[in-house]
Symmetry: C2
Subunit: 332 residues, 2 copies
């Protein structure tokens, strides 16, 4: 007996960052965060529950994955199987859609798509809010990729898993876009998980970070509701820098920046000073993301091309939330 | 009637940083700091009190300076003239000794040398502690350049000028050296004064910075007393990064880093990972200073030459405190 689910989820970039868990097992964050879902980067995932299988099998971009990778998927599927009271094993096929050389494959879209596909395959018919809490337990940022546009992930209360989920804030169908500047697409040297832990344990700035991020959430939601792009951008840039500052305060200091990250930051400032509003944000890696108006994207791309190559610059419009894919839409 | 004083003072690099004043007029700092005086960078200054002059005249590297620069010198000399109860004007000649292309001319050596020369010219015969409090009122970091080796600048109490002065901590005649990597020698875009003010006013990390710097002072003095180079280096690197983190937390974010600053930081880490202990520190500019063992300096320079040019790399041994210069020693 086979039961199939297929789902697409887009990645998201946090404008108010998530950096640190208060509960590592449940992926409960230290502060609420807010993101923008991107159209250009997504994961398609098919989950086939198959009673003839002895164990889960996981293919990523047609490559069979090893025990360690598969175990993480198995643990995640168990969250659903336990609810459905089944033990059927599954074959999972995932395809990451990331423009060549971007190297931005994200666990956000991966676990969000997996949640959507598993929900369908198990027939659990869980609502999006519940899917969001489950996606969170695969990867924190996946909590937000359930929805499109601007999304807020509530930190929730104490150790209550069901209290920490995302909600859509605004569909961002106004003049919003993002350009990714791919600085280095290699694997990062320090995982987010380890970097977060070291920051919480040693940075004297950590508690101030949590406080300031909490304030930034309120400010950015106000800017979004007023469609005030300048304030949105200023808060985004400031919050990202404060996250990196908090890491830099760790002992030993943590920095994901590379020389070209600084070059990109300086270039964006230069473009802004010329009158085109655009703002940077960075995550746990050297790549630089530029929040801008969609209507300015081509002009900004042309400016960036003065210092970066064509394949380093990846524009994206705003992405939608998870979407089930029919057999016809499954082009693999 | 003429009365002449001549003095040499070396620059210093803070290992525990000074970033922010609690009293802007008196240059009273928010926290104590600790520095290393460098031999390679110094200022020679001659002060000639001359009753035939109608106003102060100031020459820097043989170039007569304008009203604004001269007014700052006049105000500083008045601190001494008021004590000596004289109004005689002065001719001041200063020479900055900074290896070509380093662009590291510092107000630290400038005001420290000026304090020493003026002390001699006025015949006030002030002690070093008093000279240190006076040098402070020209430029905060000048407080420390009165002495050689490792020097602590006490933050002092409330608004009491005489409570904030430097003392020598250790002559650093053990295995200590510093290499300056000159990344960009142009004028910085944001002055320290303005950068400090903006950081105090807007960075959510500022109060934690003051607390952590205060703890770092105690830790680094212990490392110095135990001649524990590794701990000395680790605290130095961590403290400098925390200062830059505090700035990055300002609104809008402040960063003095350039792409090559990151290249230098990464290179130093690479050299350290190869087994040569060396640690970076940075001030309000893009240049990178490398604290290392004097006995490792040539080997570290050779590694740095893989990525930087010869004239970007300036080694220095430890410098001494201010020193009066006789007419014979005045080779200008």
């Amino acid at each position: 007996m086979k039961s199939i689910g297929r789902c697409r989820a887009h990645t998201n970039i946090a404008l108010i960052k998530y950096w640190g868990k208060r509960n590592e097992e449940l992926f409960l964050p230290m502060n609420s965060s807010l993101s923008l879902t991107l159209d250009a980067f997504y994961t398609d995932t098919e989950v086939t529950l198959d009673s003839t299988l002895d164990s889960d099998v996981f293919f990523l971009d047609n490559v069979k994955q090893g025990d360690k990778e598969t175990a993480k998927i198995t643990n995640f599927l168990n969250l659903f199987r336990n609810r459905a009271n089944i033990e059927t094993k599954a074959c999972i096929k995932s395809y990451n859609h990331v423009p060549t050389a971007a190297g931005l494959a994200s666990s956000a879209s991966a676990f969000s798509a997996l949640a959507g596909a598993t929900n369908q395959a198990t027939g659990l018919n869980l609502d999006l809010k519940t899917l969001s809490t489950l996606a969170r337990q695969g990867s924190g940022s996946a909590t937000r990729s359930i929805y499109g546009g601007f999304v807020e992930w509530f930190m929730g209360e104490s150790d209550l898993s069901e209290s920490s989920f995302a909600i859509p804030v605004d569909d961002a169908t106004w003049d919003i876009g993002m350009i990714v500047i791919a600085v280095n697409t290699g694997r990062k040297k320090l995982s987010s998980r380890v970097g977060m832990k070291q920051t919480i344990d040693t940075s004297p700035f950590y508690s101030s970070w949590v406080e300031t991020a909490t304030k930034d959430i309120e400010k950015i939601k106000k800017a979004i509701s007023e469609k005030d792009f300048i304030t949105l951008g200023e808060i985004t840039e400031s919050n990202g820098m404060k996250m990196h500052a908090t890491m830099l305060g760790a002992f030993p200091p943590i920095s994901y920046w590379e020389p070209d990250s600084v070059k990109a930051i300086q270039k964006v400032k230069e473009i802004r000073d010329m009158g085109l509003p655009c703002y940077v944000t960075m995550d746990a890696g050297p790549n630089v993301k530029v929040l801008c108006k969609r209507s300015d994207m081509i002009e900004i791309e042309n400016k960036l091309l003065e210092d970066f190559t064509r394949d380093q610059i990846i524009p994206s419009s705003v992405g939608e939330g998870i979407k089930l894919l029919s057999q016809d839409e499954w082009n693999y």
